[in-house]
């Protein structure tokens, strides 16, 4: 008598297994196939094109009624297996019993539904089978229908793109910082996000979903931060877990999936398992390639032939028409690993290979994926690529091909890119004038186009354009690159951030063709500052790219403790403030209290864990952070001035306090220190500060570009103004000009030397329109900057910074 084979789950893995089985021996078993879905096997992968309307269901059916009939399969579609009785060797589907000699479990996975309020409302769905697709398509049929897709992984993005194609308004909520973080690094994630946004899909990363709102059915999704997105349907695509319920109930050995050996046999010798429900050597798979290998092995095992399943590398491709994306292997960084990165900012291409000992470990390709399988092949084989290393990244066709061109980024800029911000000159104009007028020197270009004629920040770019137009005959002055991650200098990067509207670090790195994937400790803080300064309202400050002092808002000391310096506006204090400081010092046993060179009080030697508590007490007494750690406004020293001093000509204390209260919290390229003296005796030492004011009878003499640290240099006089209001406007405008133009870590005196004192005087003192515009931009940016970082942290922001993650005792030695 033929043996009875029962298969639970009519999906892709079991379908393939039956094909192999019938090929090997069509008469070995009497087969019964259960499927919870009311249909036979179809190509589940192709559900995305079906949802997008690019394919029909009929086109993706892999086994039709004829096939099952021809192979004598007893089909039980629409029938869920609820229990296995291993002793009696029968399976139950409800009341009905079906005996087996061999059983194959191929139940696939269940979509993971996040346990939030409203998850059970009608309109909330997963994306797993044809019924889900039908439900989504029906919802998309209504006019102005809105969808929220939770999950920015492979599945979620395919759903989002498809629903968008059907005309829905689509928002994707993604918990992590960039899309498809499991397959992509941040740079490729950025390109993908840009592409999808270009199609009208809204992407919200770092989104913590709180609940689905609605009475009768889903109406909206609300996030932890309070954002609300209206939704007719909510698609949860946050992950899958192996569907193992019947196996667990039957007492089979199950970890995350049903554990099998190399022959696909479970802990019961008569029960096999294949597909996503399986765990082999601690790995569960979610892509079909390895499942097909399992299917082949299981078929052989059933007909008693030798075969063994071996773990395999997997490669992914996103099936969204028009998006080319490929990722394979392991692309994490490591120190014995090297990476080769190729970026083409204008064509939106990003390729990254991770190598170890001259063998490819991982590949991420975006924009141009033709070489994906070539790389993947070498990855699987462990091919030694030493010979072709230099040209490897260019792909198979280019073997023996060219070198990276350091001018590529500039060459790729569109003609209307603004190169000179001061005079509003774009690339087309510069290149055009060079050719028309036959210009060959920088001065000639300056004279004819006005580009690079003012602050000079764009000089590097203008010279590169000359090189591009004139060829090797023009030799631009060598620019000092920002760091080893790029060939561009600080000025070029600053100009291009503005000109190209780059608003995130990955965007800068991609568009400006960075040579590393994650930057370094030199370029990341600089880029973070440039983005904060240029897009105060839009840029999300990247704390991981800040030096620790600016991250934890205190100064790290040589022993790893911190010092805390509260603001003491203009150096003026009171008994109440001093008492509060005394109390904090006692309460937290602070070892040293010192009056600083900046007219305020420093508490030194505080444990990092205590910082939030110290700040809480200081905040209660009205103190805010003194930013003694910041590339930002530090102190405004003052003298007693006309309030007390017999020589005082103006209220220097009052003006100093006013300036400090107006400007605190702003980030600057390097630290900014100021002082206001009441008369030319200059007791506040205003003439060696970044910005100083010396009060005189006729008004206020504004000084700048002094130094008294590594270098000593007296200030330059910017000009004389009559009123306090004018003094404030001039100072603010000057600092804003510096914020917009200087290189990271460049103090005002160095910037002024580069740009020219005259030019600064012209823009700030003479051109009142410019001055007003600088002033207004500073005021705008203060709206987002003037938040006391201490009280923010007292109320819980960045909690993780201040607490150890775990405390471990000595482990108990095993008996």
């Amino acid at each position: 008598m033929t043996e009875k084979l029962v298969v639970v789950g009519a999906g892709m893995a079991s379908g393939r297994m039956l094909e192999h089985l019938f090929e090997a021996n069509p008469d070995a078993f009497d087969v019964t196939l259960f499927g919870a879905e009311p249909r036979g096997n179809y190509n589940r992968i192709m559900l995305s094109p079906v949802l997008a309307g690019e394919k029909t269901y009929d086109e993706i059916v892999t086994h039709d009624a004829n096939w099952y009939a021809e192979n004598g399969v007893n089909c039980r579609f629409g029938e869920t297996v609820t229990r296995i009785d291993r002793k009696a060797k029968v399976v139950f589907s409800g009341e009905r019993e079906t005996p087996y000699d061999k059983l194959v479990i191929a139940t696939g996975s269940a979509p993971f539904i996040i346990p939030i309020a409203g998850k059970d409302l009608p309109g909330v769905m997963a994306f797993r089978d044809l019924d889900d697709v039908d439900a989504m398509a029906a919802a998309a049929g209504k006019p102005n229908a809105k969808a929220v897709v939770i999950g920015g992984g492979l599945l979620g993005l395919e759903a989002a793109a498809a629903l968008r194609l059907r005309g829905m308004e689509v928002v994707v909520l993604h918990l992590m910082g960039h899309l498809m973080e499991r397959q992509l690094d941040p740079a490729a994630g950025y390109l993908l996000q840009k592409e999808l946004e270009g199609r009208g899909i809204k992407i919200h990363c770092k989104a913590q979903t709180k609940a689905v709102l609605g009475e009768e059915r889903a109406e909206a999704v609300v996030l932890e931060d309070g954002t609300i997105y209206p939704a007719d349907i909510v698609v949860m695509a946050v992950g899958i877990r192996p569907e193992t319920r019947i196996a667990v109930d039957a007492g089979l050995y199950v970890e995350r999936g049903i554990v099998v050996n190399d022959q696909m046999v479970s802990s019961d010798p008569d029960i096999l398992a294949v597909g996503e429900c399986v765990e082999h050597e601690s790995i569960c798979y979610g892509l079909v390639a390895p499942l097909y290998d399992m299917a082949k092995v299981a078929a052989k095992t059933l007909v008693k032939e030798d075969a063994a399943f071996r773990p395999v590398e997997t490669a992914t491709q996103l099936k969204v028409t028009g998006v080319n994306l490929y990722s394979a292997g392991d692309f994490a960084e490591g120190d014995d690993r090297e990476e080769i990165v190729l970026r083409d900012g204008s064509a939106g291409i990003y390729k990254r290979l991770v190598l170890k000992e001259n063998r490819i470990l991982g590949a991420v390709l975006y924009g141009e994926t033709a070489d994906g399988s070539w790389f993947f092949n070498m990855l699987k084989k462990g091919t030694d690529v030493a010979e072709m290393r230099d040209t490897l990244i260019f792909g198979q066709a280019y073997q023996g091909g060219g070198q990276l061109d350091p001018m590529a980024a500039v060459a790729a800029l569109p003609d209307d890119t603004e190169i000179c911000g001061c005079n509003g000159v774009c690339k087309g104009k510069i290149v055009g004038t060079i050719t028309e007028k036959g210009l060959t020197t920088l001065d000639a270009v300056r004279a004819h186009t006005k580009a690079s004629n003012s602050c000079g920040t764009c000089t590097g770019l203008v010279e590169q354009l000359m090189r591009l137009t004139l060829g090797d005959t023009y030799n631009p002055a060598a620019v000092q690159p920002m760091c080893g991650c790029t060939d561009l200098g600080h000025d070029d990067v600053r100009r291009l951030i503005k000109a190209k509207g780059l608003k995130t670090i990955p965007a800068v790195m991609q568009e400006l063709e960075w040579k590393t994937s994650c930057g370094c400790a030199k370029c990341r803080p600089a880029l973070n500052y440039y983005l904060v300064a240029d897009w105060p309202d839009e840029y999300a400050d990247d704390y991981q790219s800040r030096f620790v002092n600016e991250r934890v808002h205190a100064n790290i000391q040589k022993d790893g403790t911190y010092s805390v310096v509260p603001r003491m506006w203009g150096g003026v204090t009171s008994s109440k403030e001093l008492r509060a400081i005394a109390d904090v010092v006692d309460k937290f046993n602070i070892p040293t209290v010192k009056v600083t060179g900046g007219q305020r009080i420093d508490m030194l030697g505080i444990q990092k864990e205590d910082l939030p508590a110290v700040w809480a007490d200081l905040s209660k007494a009205g103190f805010v952070s003194g930013h003694a750690y910041a590339k930002g406004l530090r102190t405004v020293k003052t003298c007693v001035g006309s309030d007390w001093c017999r020589f005082g000509t103006q209220d220097s204390t009052g003006l100093g306090i006013r300036i400090e209260k107006f400007m605190w919290g702003s980030w600057t390229p390097a630290k900014v220190k100021m002082a206001v003296s009441g008369c030319p005796r200059n007791c506040a030492e205003a003439t060696c500060k970044d910005v100083g004011v010396v009060c005189v009878d006729s008004g206020f003499e504004i000084h700048f570009a002094g130094a008294a640290g590594l270098d000593i240099k007296g200030t330059e006089v910017l000009g004389l103004v009559k009123t306090e209001d004018e003094a404030l406007e001039v100072i603010v405008a000057l600092v804003q000009m510096y914020r917009e133009q200087a290189r990271y870590l460049e103090r005002i005196y160095k910037w002024a030397k580069r740009v020219g004192i005259e030019e600064i005087r012209r823009q700030i003192m003479e051109d009142t329109g410019k001055r007003k515009a600088f002033f207004d931009r500073f005021v705008f940016s203060q709206k987002f900057a003037q938040v006391d970082p201490w009280s923010e942290r007292v109320s819980g922001k960045d909690k993780h910074e201040f607490k150890p993650m775990a405390e471990l005792g000595f482990p108990q030695a095993a008996e």
Binding site: G177, E181, D185, P186, R256, F331, A332, E333, G334, D335, D336, R337, T516, S517, C518, G519, C520, A521, R524, P525, Y543, Q544, S545, R546, F547, V548, N549, R551, V552, I556, K558, D559, G560, H800, P804, M805, A806, E807, L808, G809, F810, P811, A813, A814
Partner: protein
């Protein structure tokens, strides 16, 4: 004999950041890279004792916050011209859970 104990979840650590684990043998810094690799090293710079957990993380390296030495998270070796190394500790990830081999502590303590 290894003795794996959970020290936290992946999401407890920001990407390109670190958290500390206090142990009887001193503070250990657990790092998470941009690509979600995790590494554990001694939180003490061999130069002058800087807390490496407070440094900027780039690739699988960290720059010490005190005087900018750069260390490999994988091998613990100082990079470039600087010479020195920090002790590294084995970590294991099980899904979101990060586990550390606690038996090493006995071994270190016994040294």
């Amino acid at each position: 004999m290894s003795d794996w104990i959970e020290v936290g979840k992946l999401d407890d650590i920001p990407q390109r950041g670190a958290r500390c684990v206090n142990t009887p043998i001193g503070r250990i810094a657990v790092f998470r890279t941009a690509t979600d690799e995790v590494y554990a090293i001694e939180d003490r710079c061999p130069h002058r004792g800087g807390p490496l957990s407070q440094g900027i993380v780039h690739g699988a390296q960290v720059t010490c916050p005190l005087h900018n030495w750069v260390f490999s998270l994988e091998t613990g070796d100082a990079q470039g011209a600087d010479e020195g190394a920090v002790r590294t500790f084995a970590l294991k990830r099980e899904g979101e859970r990060i586990l550390m081999d606690a038996s090493i502590m006995l071994a270190v303590a016994a040294e």
